[in-house]
Amino acid sequence: MNKALVKTYMSHLGTIFFNYSIFCFAMTCISFFSVVLIVTFWVLLIAIGLLSLCVLFFVPGYTDLFTKSSGFMEMALMLTPIFSGVGIAFSVLSLIFLLFDRQNPKNKSKIIISAVFVGILIFVLVYTLIKMKDGNVQ
C-alpha cells in the first residue's frame, strides 16, 4: 500500500480517537465540577444529553438518581474516574496514530491538545481517586 495513503488512514484514525477524547474530556470536566462545586441536576442533564438520558431511563434504579440530589452526586462521582480513564486511553491512542503523520500541519495542534488532555485527565483521575479513598470529595 502507498506510504502516503497509510499516513492518511493513520491520520483519520487519530482524528476519530481525538474526537472521542474531546468528548471524554468535556464529560470529565462536567462530572468533576458537578462533584466539586456540588452542581446537581441541570449541569449533568445538559451534559449527558437527551440520548444518554433516554438510555439511562431504561436502566432500573437510575430514574431515582434524577430525583434525589445525593443519588445524582453519587452518579457524578462515579462518572468522573470512568470518563477520565477512558479519555486518557483515547488521548493516548490519538497521540499514537497522529504521530504517524506528525509533519502534517493540521495534526500538530491535535497532538499538542491530546498531550495536554492526557496531563489534565491523569491529574483529575488521581485527584478523584485519592478523594474517593478519603471519602471527602468536596
Binding site: M1, Y9, I16, N19, F58, Q103, P105
Partner: protein
Amino acid sequence: MNTLKISFKFSYFKNPLVYIDGKLIFPKRNNFGNYTYTLKTNSDKVNLKIINVHELEGKLWFILSYLFFLISLLGIFDKKIDKSCKKVQYESTIDLIENSELTIEFPRLSKTSTETIISKGNVNEEVITNNFYIDNKLKKRIKILKIAKILTWIASAILITIITIILLTR
C-alpha cells in the same frame, strides 16, 4: 550553493504532497495563509513533483472507510471525507540560480473549468506533467459509501427499537 524558495497557494486544495528530487517536503504556513519552503542545494537542477492522495483511492477503500465509520460510533466522531475529489499531477524540472523563487498556485477548480497549476518565478522551468481534474471514480465511491452508511443507520435504528420494545415488554 543555490537556494529555491517555493510559495504554495493551495486555495481549497486538500492534502497535497510535494516531492523535491523524490523526497517528500513539508512546507510551513506563513502569516498570509500560504505555505513556503526554502531548499538549499548544490545541484543546478531539481525535480518538483506535486500529487495528492485521497483516502478512498486504496484497494481496501470500502472496508477501511466502513470500519472507520463503525469505530466512530456510526459517524458521530468521524472525520469529514474530502468530497471535492480534486486530483493533481504536477511534475517539472527547475534550473536553479543563486536565489531562485517560485510560486505555485492552485486554481479553484469548478466542474467545467480545465485550469491547471500556475507556476511563476525567476527560474527556468520545464513542465513535464500538469493535470488537474475532478476524479469521478472517487465521487462514485463516496456515493456507495453514503448508501452503506444510510443502510447501517436504518438497521441500527431498527435494532435499537426492537431492543427497547423487548426491554419494555419484559
